[in-house]
């Protein structure tokens, strides 16, 4: 028992004596109440001392500890803490008859009476300003009681001698539970999903920030995660949720809703619109693998997306919960004023249950909330009904009419507690928002601000929630308490967002209509206002949305004015109806589908649905709290320690050897706590203007906490992308960087990172490539170049690629259809840089993959150019050209090196478009030209990254290129 108590204490406190006692009810002013001897009345009484090294003092305290029924002795928690000060007193008495009588009267037999002879009663008193607290404790252990009382006397003696120096601040650790507060409701999702280091104080070499504050941030975070880890019982619960959003345009249900409600088997089966996009966009391989890695480490939500696509084939059974959002339920003007009738809601609930068909009987309405036209309904499987609880609602108006509620949101918050035996699992908080944001194309800013407004105003009243805090000395007032939207484990937004596509109406329709079906969706989404808002952080920052492969859900015509796709000619089609989510790292969210349901035609919108699977690891609530308070005590007071943190690094120098463009190299750095105290460390920049490391280097994690002896591994990755290469190509080849690892309230450590950069022809200016004296790798210095008069017409590397393709490719489909193998691509890039010969296709089978690789390397090389082949200031002019002749004339205004590249390249593309297709091929000639233009136009006329020139229409770019190759 002593060992358990000592391990409960911090190292700066010593256990002086401990004994097991039984409590009788606290007695106030001699009020004798009865006592019982069941298990719940057992306590451990301890006296501990705290030495203050620096002043040579000592203070004492008496603690009454208890352990929850059914838990082991290690799981102690504090019930009462009293400083051994002037207010503290105690007395011991031989158990008197009265006490014995009371105890016997509870129904005890002679056994108790027999033992009672040796029982002693200890009374502890503590005087507060207004009352006297007293505890009566019974023990049989005379010897231990003696050492307890002796220690109390000794410590009280010390107190009396040094009364004025008395401090007792160390006791706050045992009385407060600050770190545990975070468990009472989930941490704000916006906080848990941002990288920890961004929450720390600004710091750089020699200028540490607020180390003490940083320690507490890192520590809270660490304890939270560790406690969850320690309390997770190893199993997890699966919850299937189907969400939907439908703008019904004031209509009453008049169609079968089953397609929208029943599980969608697979994205592709349903919509038929997932086409092999790979073949059309060789640029996909240009994405930076480091960035992906970094974003996925930011939280589970982004990792989920990758997961979702790989899991499309998973079998989906009936959802446990359906949550459906409706907008524009009622368009009548009186609806704005009297939002009380539930007639419409009832009709929709009925239609939903009907739409579920024979499964309908398995479900029951769980909750609903309506605000004028906005209605959110949650329907749960009857069998799982008991898992959902603590249901709360919220609603808020927004938009032009504000409070009137024609725009705004309704939301439901609920907790989901998996069924479990023996333990009480910690609930998972799910929040669903059904929102309708401001309309019209131009109103982006308004929509963004609506989002922020609603995020702030949608709060849930938690007033009657029970406070689980059982501390005797904390009077928990039932005060009004609200929780915010983001204080959830998973947050869903099912929205009629009204975000539009920032492209001309004609472009949108043309891109949607062109074949293969829906292949232009990724391109259109680049202009999607919601995607732009998320990327820029203006709204919905941190939310995930599954890849969209379905057609826009808005606006379908109900009369004659429809286009070939049945969209209303008067309104630009858009993905106005969206489902987004955000989740805590502790919940694994997998999205199995995301689609529209074109069969349901009653409204001008098509309903959208999304299937989610949540995997929540089951966490023992009580164990988590105990673990957290234990860890908290262990890590508390690092800031006050007279010890300095010490770490050991292995290795001290990371040599990456030869570093090539786009070849990822990963090494690990081990960090071990070599000191006596827990250590918080973080990487810092040399100075405030710089980043922690140059763009070609990434470290993960950037922040950590290690207990004495613990070891962690940091991944150090080198990856040279276009932007890094464009700089490194012009600098000396030696890579040398010093990482600075700062230990909070301690030293800075240096770690050298070295490497030998290998020059590349990628990521240069055309004007540099035409004046290179030879293959880039043969150069002595990055400044080597030939005289302008001797410069080559077009870069050697581009010409080599074009020539190879002209010689070896007979079927233009080969340019796109082969599997894209990164190893071949790497090999080809290397040949371009060294001047070596390309691999020669040995057989017909090899030619396809090789052709595909070389074609995509050509695209990559063009795309890597620091400035696009056609300078952005000419883009608008290009789009004005209406004929082939006009287009050719414009070439006179191109810079000389651009003209040469343009002519060679378009000659090649034209040649490809003219190739006789194998007779069995289904594609026709015009399609090939179209396809080539689709791939090359955005690269040759790449949008200006500086924002100086407004981007032009992607269709216009294609048309300009088609003048040359069509």
């Amino acid at each position: 028992m002593e060992a358990a108590v000592q391990s409960f204490l911090r190292s700066s406190e010593d256990l002086k004596a401990a004994l097991e006692v039984e409590v009788t009810q606290p007695q106030e002013h001699g009020d004798l109440s009865s006592s019982s001897t069941d298990d719940r009345s057992r306590r451990i009484l301890a006296v501990v001392s705290h030495r203050m090294d620096y002043v040579g003092g000592e203070e004492g305290s008496v603690l009454i500890l208890k352990r929850p029924p059914g838990h082991s002795i290690e799981d102690l928690s504090v019930e009462v803490v009293y400083p051994i000060s002037g207010s503290f007193s105690f007395s011991v008495a031989q158990a008197r008859r009265t006490t014995l009588d009371l105890r016997a009267s509870v129904g005890e037999t002679g056994a108790t009476l027999g033992q009672s002879r040796t029982e002693l009663t200890l009374t502890i008193k503590y005087e507060l300003a207004t009352e006297i607290r007293s505890h009566t404790l019974i023990t049989r252990d005379t010897r231990k009681l003696q050492s307890f009382t002796a220690e109390c006397r000794r410590l009280k003696g010390i107190f009396t001698r040094n009364e004025f120096d008395a401090d007792f601040s160390w006791l706050s650790l045992y009385t407060q539970e600050s770190s545990l507060k975070s468990f009472s409701s989930p941490i704000d999702l916006r906080t848990v999903n941002i990288p920890l280091h961004t929450r720390l104080s600004p710091a750089s070499a020699g200028l540490p920030g607020d180390d003490a504050a940083d320690i507490s941030i890192v520590r809270e975070n660490w304890i939270y995660n560790k406690a969850v880890e320690e309390a997770s019982i190893g199993s997890s619960a699966r919850l299937l949720i189907r969400t939907g959003t439908f703008n019904v345009n004031g209509k009453m249900p008049s169609q079968d809703l089953s397609p929208w409600l029943r599980p969608t088997k697979r994205d592709s089966e349903k919509s038929g619109w997932i086409s092999p996009l790979k073949s059309i966009s060789p640029l996909d391989i240009l994405s930076n693998p480091i960035d992906e890695q970094v974003t996925s480490s930011l939280g589970a939500s982004s990792a989920t997306l990758a997961h979702a696509s790989s899991n499309n084939n998973a079998n989906i059974s009936d959802p446990d919960l359906l949550v459906l959002g409706f907008q524009e339920l009622d368009l009548s003007t009186e609806a704005l004023l009297y939002a009380t009738s539930t007639v419409k809601e009832d009709a929709w609930v009925e239609a939903i249950l009907a739409g579920l068909g024979e499964r309908g009987i398995l479900y029951e309405k769980l909750a609903s909330k309506q605000l004028v036209g906005m209605l959110i309904i949650a329907i749960a499987k009857k069998a799982r009904l008991s898992c959902f609880g603590d249901i709360r609602f919220s609603a808020a108006g927004a938009g032009i009419m504000g409070i009137m509620g024609n725009k705004g949101a309704t939301a439901i918050r609920m907790s989901y507690t998996p069924l479990a035996q023996e333990i009480s699992p910690s609930p998972t908080v799910l929040t669903f928002v059904n929102a309708h944001l401001a309309a019209f194309d131009e109103m982006v800013e308004r929509r963004n601000s609506d989002f922020h407004d609603l995020s702030r105003r949608l709060v849930f009243d938690q007033t009657d929630e029970l406070d689980s805090n059982s501390y005797a000395n904390i009077a928990s007032e039932t005060s009004r308490r609200t929780v915010g939207l983001f204080e959830s484990d998973v947050l869903f937004w099912m929205v009629h967002l009204n975000y539009r596509i920032d492209l001309a109406d004609g472009d949108v329709r043309e891109l949607l209509a062109s074949s293969p079906g829906a292949s232009n969706i990724p391109l259109l989404l680049k202009y999607d206002q919601l995607k732009t808002a998320i990327a820029s952080g203006k709204a919905f920052a941190g939310f995930s949305e599954h890849a969209i492969t379905h057609m826009p859900s808005y606006r379908y015509a109900s009369n004659t004015s429809e286009d070939s796709l049945r969209y209303d000619r008067k309104r630009k089609p858009a993905w106005t109806d969206r489902i987004l989510h955000m989740s805590a790292p502790s919940v694994r969210v997998t999205q199995h589908s995301y689609c529209t349901h074109p069969q349901i035609t009653m409204s001008d919108h098509r309903p959208v649905s999304a299937d989610f699977e949540l995997n929540v690891s089951t966490i023992d609530k009580q164990r988590r709290e105990l673990a957290a308070s234990k860890l908290y005590r262990e890590l508390w007071g690092v800031e006050q320690s007279s010890n300095t943190p010490k770490i050991k690094l292995q290795p001290m120098t990371l040599d990456f050897g030869k570093v090539y463009y786009r070849r990822l190299i990963r090494q690990t750095l081990s960090i071990q706590n070599d000191g006596q105290i827990p250590c918080v460390y973080r990487f810092v920049a040399a100075d405030a203007e710089q980043a922690i490391c140059p763009q070609w280097l990434k470290i993960d994690p950037v922040v950590g906490l290690l207990r004495p002896g613990e070891l962690s591994t940091t991944t150090v990755t080198v990856f040279v992308d276009n932007s890094s290469a464009s700089r490194l190509n012009l600098a000396p080849p030696r890579l040398d960087f010093t990482l600075i690892l700062h230990t909070a309230l301690g030293k800075d450590y240096f770690i050298s990172v070295t490497g030998e950069y290998q020059y590349t022809c990628f990521a240069n200016k055309l004007t540099r490539l035409t004046r290179l004296p030879g293959p880039v790798r043969t150069m002595k210095s990055p400044n080597d170049r030939i005289h302008a008069r001797q410069s080559v017409n077009a870069p050697r590397e581009i010409m080599t690629l074009i020539n190879w393709l002209m010689t070896h490719v007979t079927d233009p489909n080969d340019l796109f259809n082969g599997p894209l193998e990164e190893s071949i691509c790497m090999n080809i890039r290397e040949c371009l840089d060294t001047g070596d010969q390309f691999p020669f296709p040995q057989s017909g089978e090899e030619r396809g993959p090789l052709a595909t690789a070389i074609a995509s390397i050509l695209v990559q090389l063009l795309d890597s150019l620091v400035d696009p082949v056609v300078p952005p200031y000419l883009h608008a002019r290009c789009l004005q050209m209406t004929s082939r002749d006009e287009a050719f004339e414009l070439l006179d205004e191109f810079p000389p090196e651009s003209v040469n590249v343009w002519i060679s390249l378009t000659a090649f593309l034209h040649y490809m478009a003219l190739q006789k297709l194998p007779s069995q091929s289904s594609t026709d000639q015009a399609d090939i030209a179209e396809r080539l233009a689709t791939v090359f136009a955005p690269v040759l006329l790449r949008d200006d990254s500086t924002g100086l020139h407004t981007p032009v229409s992607p269709i216009g770019k294609r048309k300009f290129l088609l003048h040359f190759i069509g």
Partner: protein, 207 residues
């Protein structure tokens, strides 16, 4: 109530001249024959009490002397109120290096910086290569504090820090001094110099 001041002090000098050893002697009154070369920068604090009961708290950054980390030194001497530039009296080259540091400080650091030139390893004076005259003459010309020390025996160590403390402008409000915010928790165990066991006849307070 006595006055308290806080200053940022940086140690510079070639590798192995004994910067870390000097700090260790000053802060903990210890010496270590086998010290690892510093790869990084160590932060320590030490408080000096002057005769008039004014206390000066030094926030000391001990830097890496190795050539390859030279580019990071400015990060540690920016905002420094004082610098101790160390050379090894048994190595002529180390004085040259010290002069380079001093020139750099005079050019780049805060113009009011107090610089002390410190010839270390005085216990090895039998192998002396740098004469006292040469170094002190240079220090006079440049307006630097100068003295010789031995981190090994402790000779002259407290004296040089005390001399710096006295030369610092003890008028400015303490809060304006030093770059490091005096955040709660940055306070460490302060060892009163006067309480330190010393074999050096009370230099700590008599100089």
């Amino acid at each position: 109530m006595s006055k308290q001041f806080q200053f940022k002090l940086v140690l510079l000098g070639e590798s192995a001249v004994g910067k870390s050893s000097l700090v260790l002697r000053f802060v903990k009154d210890q010496f270590d024959d086998y010290r690892e070369s510093t790869i990084g920068a160590a932060f320590l604090t030490q408080t000096v009490t002057l005769e008039d009961q004014t206390t000066v708290k030094f926030e000391i950054w001990d830097t890496a002397g190795q050539e390859r980390y030279k580019s990071l030194a400015p990060m540690y001497y920016r905002n420094a109120n004082c610098a101790v530039v160390v050379y090894d009296i048994t190595q002529t080259a180390s004085l040259e290096k010290a002069k380079t540091w001093i020139r750099e400080l005079q050019r780049q650091a805060d113009p009011s910086i107090v610089i002390a030139l410190c010839g270390n390893k005085l216990d090895l004076s039998a192998r002396r290569q740098v004469t006292e005259e040469e170094a002190s003459k240079y220090a006079d010309e440049e307006g630097l504090l100068w003295s010789e020390t031995s981190a090994k025996t402790g000779e002259g160590v407290n004296a040089i820090f005390n001399a710096i403390a006295k030369k610092l402008p003890l008028t400015a409000p303490p809060s304006a001094r030093g770059a490091r915010a005096a955040a709660p928790g940055t306070t460490r165990q302060n060892v009163d110099l006067n309480r330190q066991p010393t074999a050096r006849g009370g230099e700590a307070c008599n100089c």
